[in-house]
């Protein structure tokens, strides 16, 4: 984990997933953050992937869901599509808006 960024649970040292998946908590500073949880019948979905897509389904980023079904993206401000993939062909998709300095919360139910 990055010691330089103690406020965040997301490592800044690589492009990979943070240990244990993302932990959704207070977001940092002036960035455009999109975060939330994925649930199925009220229970967290901990095996699955959240993908952030741009216009025309252009891939932007993907994270594995955390133990609590959580995900978080540091996006550029703008309109995005959030897509969730889970085992057994489960999927969901919804539009999200990311704004500078804001945390956009998205709750996804499969």
């Amino acid at each position: 984990m990055s010691e330089a960024n103690p406020a965040s649970t997301v490592t800044a040292n690589g492009c990979g997933a943070p240990a244990g998946g993302v932990s959704v908590s207070a977001a940092t500073g002036t960035q455009a953050v999109v975060e939330g949880h994925v649930t199925r019948e009220g229970a967290p979905v901990s095996t699955g992937y959240a993908r952030l897509l741009g216009s025309g389904d252009e891939f932007v980023a993907e994270v594995p869901l955390g133990d609590d079904g959580g995900f978080r993206f540091f996006a550029a401000p703008g309109s995005w599509t959030l897509r969730v993939l889970a085992p057994n062909g489960l999927r969901a998709e919804q539009p999200v808006q990311a704004d500078h300095g804001q945390v956009t919360k998205v709750e996804v139910s499969l």
């Binding site: 990979g16 997933a17 992937y49 952030l52 252009e58 978080r72 550029a76 993939l85």
Partner: protein
Amino acid sequence: MSRSDVLVDADWAEAHIGDPDVVIVEVDEDTSAYDKGHIPNAIKIDWKKDLQDPVRRDFVDKTGFENLLSERGISNDDTVLLYGGNNNWFAAYAYWYFRLYGHDKVLLLDGGRKKWELDSRELTRDVPERPRTSYTAREQDASLRALRDEVIAAIGKRNLVDVRSPDEFTGRLLAPAHLPQEQAQRAGHIPTARNVPWSKAANEDGTFRSDDELRSLYAGEAGLDFGRDTIAYCRIGERSAHTWFVLHELLGQPNVKNYDGSWTEYGSLVGVPIELGEAR
């Protein structure tokens, strides 16, 4: 070299879980993924702790690689099957690394951990024990790795493929959108680079697109001249290892190098040219 020599599917992996000649290795930055469950019989390699020098920004050296593989119980004759999270970014990086140190019997699992999980295939927490070996590596194969001066000299002369997202390429972001925005001192891309995000080479489940689709992506859409040598880069060299795998291993392009210094190095160099915005 063709696709079947370097890439196997999950059925193949499942059939070789008990094969004494095959060592399955999960490679992640987040090794807690392995600890929570991995392909039966798989061992783990930590992208950062095991493969990077702990002090300098560089790989572990030849001796370090030999020690690592010996300690993990991998011998020179073993076939190493690599897979990992993040659509195989770090597994592809490890693949490139194994090839760099001369291990030729190495395979990548198509779709990596994601496809395995989405298929609901078996994962276990049991950690296999492998007796220590005495592994001997070859000297680094310089034909696979680009260093900064070579990259600067390649501007306008070779194909430079920037595999980061369009927002990173144009300079709107400094890091992928699932990470805090820090790292290089300047945003943008190396002049004359084409932007072909790594993700265009992969399907949604993490498997690679077909050879025909890949050929038309790079040679058609992106306008890469396959008659020229190529250098791929990203931010820290692991997404570009994924593209190196596509160009060098799947499509058989002869002279493709991965620039593992990538944007975190180039974007902090003093005095080098940088372009902002779309490719020119």
